[in-house]
């Protein structure tokens, strides 16, 4: 592994961490699409900054771009406040307009300079190590490494300083306001950090990847945990993991690094989405199926309790009476048998004592709908477990 490769991976990891922190909060605050809007609309800011300084890496560029990001947020909110359109429409209107202005500005004035839309949108990580920062003639590392490092330090500093406030205003804006924190200030602070991170990362990894790095790790982490701190750490870990593995995939395929990091993020999310222990697709489907069977079982038991006549309780009669398929009926009857809820005597199904008690309790619960009762039942029976 050459030093350039190491540096690329280092930059990618730093970007991933820097994005994961604001990303987590954006996802929790249901503002994920804002990051997409910001990543597009910073373009005019960058262009204006570029006209002034003629240098793609000057700090002024970052400041201006961050400013445009905040302007985007303000515009979106203003449009939304008029009540004429919904928030998502407002976002969808603002950022393409700003982006178009940026594109036109580039097309009209900067056609012959090194600044094109592809570079802004897609970025090229592979070239990052060649753009070195020289301090009094000494090579101290790639420029983007320093930029993103500084941004990361600031972000982490802010995170530690305002963790409590952020947490509170994210989950209960009203309480935060009544305790004297200004949710508005926190909101704009977060927006500014997101804008700055987006800008700092864009020329290393491109705008789209920034969005992916902000949302995907946070979303994956959100599926795995409900603890804010754990979620932060998990999303950072996911970010770094896909950054490094994405780099090697790109190396192997000889394709865009940004693209392959995103693809790794996508795969990661897919895996989490399918296999997350309690919120994954498979777990959810399994649970839904379980519940369906359990509800069927309850229906079955209720039916038995309501009918004392023998002909109503004949195995075959049941099937046509509750209108179940053969397999489903068999599953339910087997389940009931296994739990000693019923006994089958000469094709006549009858409730056992246990089954009878259970059914009465269930009816009680259904009628009164009190939580205290279900707590007791959870211990006794498998039905309401989990």
């Amino acid at each position: 592994m050459s030093s350039a490769q190491l540096e690329i991976q280092l930059i990618a990891s730093l970007v991933a961490i820097a994005c994961a922190i604001p990303g987590t909060f954006l996802v929790l605050r249901k503002m994920a699409m804002i990051s997409d809007a910001i990543s597009h609309s910073i373009l005019p800011g960058i262009v204006v900054g570029f006209f002034i300084t003629q240098d793609l890496n000057s700090p002024l560029l970052i400041v201006l771009a961050a400013l445009t990001g905040v302007i985007t947020v303000v515009l979106v909110e203003q449009i939304q406040k008029t009540g004429l359109v919904k928030e998502d429409t407002a976002i969808g209107l603002v950022f393409p307009a700003l982006f178009s202005i940026g594109v036109i500005m580039i097309a009209k004035n900067a056609n012959d300079v090194h600044l094109d839309v592809d570079a802004v949108l897609l970025g090229e990580l592979a070239f990052a190590p060649f753009d070195r920062l020289l301090i009094s003639g000494v090579d101290v590392g790639p420029k983007s490494l320093w930029i993103i490092g500084i941004i990361l330090l600031i972000t982490i500093g802010l995170l530690f300083a305002f963790f409590k406030e952020l947490k509170l205003s994210t989950f209960d804006a009203g309480l935060a306001a009544s305790l004297g924190f200004s949710p508005v200030a926190i909101h704009y602070g977060l927006m500014t950090v997101s804008s700055v991170t987006t800008v700092g990362a864009f020329d290393a990894v491109g705008a789209i990847l920034v969005v992916a790095l902000m949302i995907a790790p946070a979303a994956s982490a959100y599926l795995l945990t409900t603890d804010l701190k754990k979620m932060l750490f998990l999303s950072m870990f996911f970010g770094v993991f896909s950054a490094i593995s994405g780099y090697w995939v790109a190396h192997w395929l000889d394709a865009s690094i940004a693209g392959s990091i995103t693809t790794m993020l996508g795969l990661l999310f897919l895996v989490v989405y399918l296999f997350a222990p309690s919120k994954g697709l498979i777990a959810v489907m399994y649970r839904e199926k379980q519940q369906k069977i359990e509800v069927s079982l309850l229906t079955f038991l209720l039916h038995l309790k309501n009918h004392t006549e023998e002909n109503e309780r004949h195995v075959n009669h049941l099937r046509e009476h509750i209108n179940w398929q053969k397999i489903r009926a068999k599953t339910v009857v087997d389940l009931a048998l296994k739990n000693n809820m019923v006994t089958i005597d000469n094709h006549i199904v009858s409730l056992t004592k246990k089954g009878d008690e259970f059914t009465s309790q269930a009816i009680d619960y259904i009628i009164t709908n009190e939580d205290a009762q279900i707590e007791d039942m959870k211990d006794d029976f498998f039905l309401f477990r989990g």
């Binding site: 699409m33 990051s35 449009i79 209107l93 178009s100 969005v211 995103t262």
Partner: protein, 344 residues
């Protein structure tokens, strides 16, 4: 046109997500066929757009992630994957690959006649389906549960609308490109929404606005050199939206502000009048003159309001003195009564 449905269904950003999600489809279609035949590429885009859409659905319904997260996620992931494939294609020894990235930003000038025909056909198809299923779409849009109880298969209709939105987006990609497609979908509809409350009017207006911004945008971009079509069209559409926001008669900001000011003036007028009434009440002759000075301490009073009262013949002025007319007196007492009634 279809944008109207997207806006009303609060799925505005879906357009953005789909247009990004179409990219890997284009790339994969190219990888499989090795030719830059626009129909196959569009088919690929359509398929991957649909996959993206339904995955978004799946995420929203099956997990606790919110729609914005799902959209952003699919958008960036698909796009990133598409980029990976595109760069991978660029490394392949195939002369045909150039120009695939045209789909990213779009260039209406690169359209050839067959593309235009395809678009016309699809637009016609959209129109026919829209007319055929108008009632179903409308019911689904405003009251999904009702539609369900009426026995419509909401899922099928839902899928139908979504598929057409995806189709429209994929076709539009060639013209305005990935990034700006969402604006094309949204802006006309958002503008049209300001002018009307009726769905059919809105769809019609949206189509009109869309067509206008397309024509104007193309004209402007042709007049200037070095100006790509897509962004100009979007800016024209945005101007339409701004205009609608400000000037639409019922919902517009301008008229709302005017109404607001008018209401406030009315209120001040009433305040002054009732103040006068309270003074006049203490005298036997209601038209007993009073000096203007005593009004000075009163907040709602300005010279303008006094003049207006005179104009309405509620008050007569005589030098520095004012007096309430019979008409004015009656108006105020009624005003008072009305308020009392309302309070009850």
């Amino acid at each position: 046109m279809l944008g109207s449905f997207a806006v009303l269904r609060k799925q505005s950003l879906l357009g953005d997500a789909i247009s990004h999600a179409a990219l890997p489809g284009i790339a994969i279609a190219f990888l499989l066929t090795g030719a830059k035949e626009s129909n196959t590429l569009l088919l690929g885009a359509l398929v991957s757009g649909l996959i993206g859409t339904f995955w978004i659905r799946g995420i929203i319904t099956k997990t606790h992630l919110k729609s914005d997260t799902a959209l952003g996620l699919i958008l960036s992931l698909f796009f990133g994957f598409g980029m990976l494939l595109l760069t991978f294609i660029q490394k392949q020894p195939n002369a045909n690959q150039a120009g695939l990235d045209k789909y990213l930003f779009g260039q209406a000038a690169t359209l050839v006649e067959s593309d235009v025909w395809l678009m016309a056909i699809v637009t016609g198809l959209c129109l026919i389906v829209l007319l055929l299923f108008w009632k179903e779409f409308k019911i689904l849009l405003f009251d999904k549960d009702y539609a369900n109880t009426l026995g419509f298969n909401t899922k099928t209709i839902d899928i139908l609308i979504t598929s057409f939105i995806v189709l429209a987006i994929v076709l539009g990609l060639q013209t305005v490109g990935v990034v700006l497609m969402s604006a094309m979908l949204l802006a006309p509809a958002a503008a049209a929404r300001q002018w009307t409350n009726s769905l059919s009017m809105m769809v019609f207006l949206a189509a009109l606005f869309g067509a206008f911004s397309g024509v104007f945008g193309t004209a402007i971009s042709a007049a200037q050199n070095n100006l790509s079509t897509g962004p100009v069209i979007v800016i024209v559409a945005s101007v339409f939206v701004m205009f609608s926001f400000i000037f639409s008669p019922n919902r517009g900001l301008l008229f709302r502000q005017i109404r607001f000011i008018k209401n406030r003036r009315d209120l001040e007028l009433h305040k002054t009048l009732s103040f006068m009434f309270n003074i006049a009440k203490t005298h036997e002759n209601i038209s007993h003159p009073h000096t203007i000075k005593i009004l000075n301490n009163f907040q709602g009073y300005t010279k303008g309001t006094l003049k207006k009262l005179v104009d309405k013949n509620y008050v007569t002025l005589n030098g520095n003195m004012w007096s309430l007319t019979q008409e004015g007196f009656e108006t105020v007492s009624n005003l008072y009564n009305q308020q009392l009634k309302k309070d009850e």
